[in-house]
């Protein structure tokens, strides 16, 4: 059963990379953006099926970090700099949410 799951995952990954880098005919930046979007899909999978609450918090935190990279690549394509503002605010909100959730998990209140 574990071997079957491993092989299914390997097939999905290989298909994604084959279609992204050899079939899809676009710029290099779009291919990199596709890789980051595929990574955020995997993170959402961890958010859905994570066994404990801490897994979900870690996954959402890393989703915020990936969003900074995605918005930086989008700004690089459109040659506009306001995408970085959105990324900074996203990272700030993700950081505050992470700290608050870890404090609640530890059994303390927010004004402790």
């Amino acid at each position: 059963m574990r071997v079957l799951r491993w092989i299914i995952g390997l097939i999905i990954f290989a298909a994604f990379f084959y279609f992204n880098f050899f079939i899809y005919d676009g710029e290099l930046l779009f291919k990199l953006i596709n890789v980051i979007l595929f990574s955020s899909l995997l993170i959402l999978l961890r958010v859905m099926f994570g066994p404990t609450a801490v897994d979900r918090i870690v996954a959402v935190d890393i989703l915020g970090v990936l969003a900074i990279g995605l918005l930086a690549l989008l700004g690089l394509h459109y040659k506009e700099s306001f995408f970085m503002d959105i990324g900074l605010i996203w990272a700030l909100l993700s950081f505050i949410a992470t700290i608050a959730f870890s404090k609640i998990l530890e059994g303390r209140q927010l004004d402790d």
Binding site: L28, L32, V35, I36, F38, S39, S40, L42, I43, L45, R46, T52, V54, D55, I57, V58, A59, D61, I62, V65, L66, I68, G69, A72, L73, G75, L76, S81, M84, D85, G87, L88, A91, L92, F95, T98, I99, F101, S102, K103, L105, E106, G107
Partner: protein, 120 residues
């Protein structure tokens, strides 16, 4: 020349992001997942922003990317430390193949010393 160096840095950053997320999906434990996932901060997104700095120089886009790097490097280890401490305090078990747990021993020892002080 700077564009080529920037594109190479950006490709490296995207590769590190993907590998970090792969570790987040594959590894068996909360602490291992955290250890793999914080790698995609230091080389992943910070690599992308460093490539943008190399490509754009000291324009407004470059300065915003520099601000992003400083902000990520300040906040991400703090968040990882808080998460791991909260996970260990809320009794989330380690994976079965893990060998040693030093923080648990430290906590037990600290509790014993506290009890002795109370007795005295």
């Amino acid at each position: 020349m700077t564009e080529v160096i920037g594109i190479i840095l950006i490709c490296m950053g995207v590769a590190f992001d993907f590998l970090g997320v792969l570790g987040l999906v594959r590894l068996p434990d909360v602490y291992n997942r955290l250890q793999a996932a914080t790698k995609c901060v230091t080389f992943g997104s910070a690599g992308i922003l460093l490539g943008i700095i190399v490509m754009y120089g000291f324009t407004n886009f470059g300065f915003k990317a520099l601000l992003g790097i400083i902000f990520i490097f300040l906040t991400s280890p703090t968040a990882a430390h808080a998460i791991s401490r909260a996970a260990h305090r809320s009794r989330i078990p380690l994976a079965k193949i893990s060998v040693v747990d030093k923080y648990e021993e430290d906590k037990e020892l600290k509790d014993e010393t506290l009890k002795e002080e109370v007795k005295v």
